[in-house]
Every structure is written in C-alpha cells, then in structure tokens.
C-alpha cells in the first residue's frame, strides 16, 4: 500500500478516522487553547529513533568514543525503536515516572514513510516519504548510550508526535528546518536539521540497506546535543516551521 498525501493528515480525538485537510486547518485546531481536542498520533507505524546524527551531539561525545565501552566512533546509523506504548498525540499528557524528577525533551523531525522502502539509493529516497511530523523523543536522562536500559526511552507516552503529517511536497527543504523547544512559553533550545551527519535522504538509504521501512513508519533524524529537561506541571512546545507545533504537558505519575 502507498500512503499518499497532498496536504496534511491528522486525527483529533473524537474523529472516526485520520483525515487529510489543509495544513492551516490543523494548525488552527491544534493551536486553539480552550476546549480544543487533543489529537491522536497521525500515524501508527513503527517509530525508529536515530542517535548521534546531529554534528553537535556527535561532537559532544567525541572525546569518549575511542575509550571503553565505545572503543570507536560509530560507522552505521545508530538506531533504536520507540515501541507502540510510547506513542501519543498532540496535547495528550505525558506522565513523569515516580523515579525520575526530570525528563529530557528530544525534539526532532519525524520522516513518515509513504511507500515501502527497501535498499533505496539516496537519490530516490525522498520518493518514499509521505511527509513529515514533529516528534518529541522523551527520555529519562542517562549518560551512557552503550546499552541503555529500555526503562529510559520506552515508558508509556514517551513519544509524542504530531499534530499532523504534512505532505512532503509542502516541506521542500527537510534538511534546513529550524526546531525550537519552549517550556512554559520560554524558548530553551534552538536547533536545525541543517548539517546532519546523514541528511534525510542519506539516512533512509543507509537504514534501508538492511531493513525495510513500511508505509506509516516514522524515522526520526535524531536529537541535537543538550536536550532540555522538563518536570511535571510544565508544558513543552516543539515548533518546526512548516511542519507543526507539538505541545504536551507533563504530569506526575499517578495524577488524574
């Protein structure tokens, strides 16, 4: 099946199906402050995260990479999976586990696959993309990326995504998008998809060399260095120009 998009796909809570509509329509609905619905995740495929694909994130680890346990800089893309229990939509609350005082907000661009991609060349990789969405790849802060426990990245609700998947044709420069993170309205991080170790097309090519990406799957381009942290009670907003504005409030585990 091919997942074709000309505008933007989203599903407010209460709507029976994900529906395509102009970006402006979803932006207006997603931005409304009161009585506005939360959104369901705009896609239900497998979510793959990419590690150390930002040059600054790679540079931040440079002096550790030749020592144990890493022993060498990475060669292939370093990936992980955000399982289905982590995926929530725009405005859905995210629970902060009782054993974590703060969580890392991993703002990143999600590349949503539209056509089965297996062993594709970089020159043809973007043809397999349906569109783009905003992803908050949340973690319990942890220092080592040698063999991180699933407890750090796989908690329920740790992968907010949305509000919509915006069609590829409407995002002509996926490798030059500014990403802004605000906590309670204050900007805390600015990053960009410019200068990635592997830009979107190259990343798709290198990943599909060994595993197929299917329509609806999401591949994130990775998180920049120094991800900001947030606590229960705070609201996190990630804005990617032309792709969307994803907002979620953190609440303490056990809260209603």
């Amino acid at each position: 099946m091919t997942f074709l998009l000309e505008q933007a796909l989203a599903q407010p809570q209460g709507a029976p199906l994900a529906t395509e509509a102009p970006v402006e329509h979803w932006q207006a609905l997603a931005a409304a402050d009161e009585h506005a619905p939360a959104f369901l995740p705009p896609t239900r495929g497998t979510v793959y995260g990419t590690l150390l694909n930002h040059r600054d994130a790679l540079a931040a680890m440079a002096d550790q990479m030749n020592a144990a346990p890493y022993k060498a800089p990475p060669r292939a893309p370093i990936l992980y999976i955000k399982p289905r229990n982590t995926v929530v939509g725009h405005r859905m609350p995210v629970r902060v586990p009782a054993d974590a005082s703060e969580l890392e907000m991993g703002a990143t661009l999600g590349v949503v696959i539209g056509r089965t991609a297996s062993h594709v060349a970089a020159s043809e990789a973007l043809d397999c993309v349906a569109g783009y969405t905003v992803v908050n790849d949340i973690s319990v802060p942890h220092a080592s990326v040698y063999r991180p426990s699933m407890r750090f990245k796989c908690r329920d609700g740790f992968c907010p995504m949305g509000p919509a998947v915006v069609a590829r044709a409407l995002v002509p420069t996926p490798d030059a998008l500014d990403i802004v993170v605000a906590i309670d309205g204050h900007t805390v991080q600015r990053s960009s998809t410019a200068g990635l170790v592997r830009p979107v097309a190259q990343l798709i090519a290198d990943v599909t060399e060994f595993m197929t990406l299917f329509p609806g799957d999401v591949l994130t381009v990775g998180v920049a260095a120094h991800a900001p942290r947030a606590r229960a009670g705070q609201t996190v907003t990630i804005t990617i120009d032309g792709v969307g504005r994803l907002q979620n409030t953190l609440i303490a585990e056990g809260a209603a």
């Binding site: 022993k71 292939a76 370093i78 399982p83 040698y146």
Partner: protein, 255 residues
C-alpha cells in the same frame, strides 16, 4: 491448541494443527508444505533478551565490556524483521559470523502494567519458537545490540505455531535445540534462564504497558555457530514446535 497463520490459494488464513498437517479455519486440510507460513499472530512490540542464559553469558564473556546483571538486558526489534516457518533468511556475502539463536517466544494475550510475578503468567496467550539471527560483523558499541545486527529483514523467524498457554504446563521446563543440516549444534533448557518468564513480565510491565500481540524473545543458550548460504537451520523446542529456516545469498535479492 496450536494456531498458525498461512497464505494459501490467494488469501491469508488462520489455521490449527491437524494430523495431516494443518486445517484452515474454513475447513480445508493441507500438508505442511502446501502453504506459505507466516508469523502465527499479528505481532505488536517485539522485545528480546540478551544474555539470559548463564551458559551463553560465559560463551560471550570475552567480548563483554559491561557485565552488570542488575536488570535484564532487554532490547527491541520491529515486526518488519519477522518471517515465518520454512522461510528464507539472507546472509550478506561480506560477513564472517552470522549465527542463529533458538529462543522461547512468550506471546502476551492481555495487557499488562505493573504486574507482579505471581500473576504474570495470566497475561500470556501462548508460546512459539523463535530463531533470532545476529550478524556479529556489524556489532557496534552504541545501543547494543544495534539494529544492523539484530533487526535485519528476514533475520527473525517466528513460528510455526502459537501454542496456547493452557497446553504448556511449565514453560520453564522445556528443552530447546538447534540443528544445522541435521547436526545438533545448540542445546539448552528453559530452566536455565537467568530471569524467568514471570520475572521478565514483572520487569517489563513495571515501566511499560505490554499489549496483546507483544512478544518477548527470552534469550538463547550457548552453542551459537556460524551458518552459510544453503544451510538448513532447525530450531526446536519440545512441545512448542520445530521451526525450519534456510540461509540464502545476496543473489536472490539482486545484490
């Protein structure tokens, strides 16, 4: 009862074991080799365990740089890597060490969050055999075991059957083994798991909700050896099934 999912005569069917092979839900009885076997249920999250048999830990100890046993070494795979019984697994031409791993797969049947070990098995729908291949040439020390080693297309074989939990009186009392071209290469027993099934469900459900269709691959004992193009690899668990797989080369994949 033993359940399968197969492709036959233009459709995908649920099937159950039958003395002649298998019986489709619509009544047709077929031989084992008359159908294409798929993973036996709709697979959700795939969780795999590293180093969950004491003897396998010893086997790999030379290359381990972290040996903490404080919590199970669990990692994720995607359903896209799965194939069924009698399938083909690709071995890239340039690798030196690709090995099978015979594992008991535990299939969740009812959602589980914060489940204690005493209740854990109530959340299990059943069991399958898994063969979780790894290509060690691609191992890197970031997010071990990295997806290029462990989440390759065709490299996780699951089946042939989903065996109802009610038909498996004690999942920690099962002998498992691997045969390569008929030669016994791996032998173990599920009583030797470091973290047993109730402990794994308690651990995982302490931080994530497990859902129906999620599957836990519970690790492999020692005895993993390299396999080559043309090899027939049979992973087998008493009472659960005999899972057949063939190693094929790049040529079939136009590489």
């Amino acid at each position: 009862m033993k359940h399968a999912k197969v492709a036959y005569a233009g459709a995908i069917h649920d099937a159950t074991e039958h003395p002649a092979g298998l019986r489709l839900a619509d009544g047709r009885v077929l031989a084992e080799d008359a159908v294409v076997w798929l993973p036996p249920f709709a697979v959700g999250t795939v969780i795999a365990l590293g180093l969950n048999y004491a003897d396998h830990v010893k086997e790999l100890s030379k290359e381990l740089t972290v040996t903490s046993k404080d919590e199970p070494l669990a990692f994720l795979k995607s359903a896209g890597a799965l194939i069924g019984h009698r399938g083909q697994t690709r071995r890239p031409a340039d690798v030196k060490f690709m090995h099978y791993e015979c594992e008991l797969a535990v299939v969740i049947g009812r959602s589980a969050k914060n489940v204690k070990r005493a209740q854990a098995l109530q959340h299990v729908a059943g069991y399958c055999v898994a063969n979780d291949y790894a290509i060690r040439d691609y191992l890197e020390n970031y997010y071990r075991p990295n997806l290029r080693v462990k989440n390759r297309d065709t490299c996780t074989v699951l089946g042939p059957w989903l065996v109802d939990a009610a038909d498996v009186p004690d999942p920690q009392q099962l002998a498992l083994r691997t045969l390569v071209n008929g030669q016994l290469t791996q032998q173990g027993h599920t009583s030797n798991m470091i973290a047993d099934i109730p402990e794994l469900i308690e651990y995982l459900s302490s931080f994530m909700t497990l859902g129906a269709g999620d599957v836990i691959l519970t690790g492999t004992p020692d005895g993993v050896v390299n396999v080559n193009v043309g090899d027939e690899v049979v992973t087998e668990i008493d009472g659960i099934g005999r899972l057949v797989n063939t190693i094929v080369g790049d040529k079939l994949f136009d590489r």
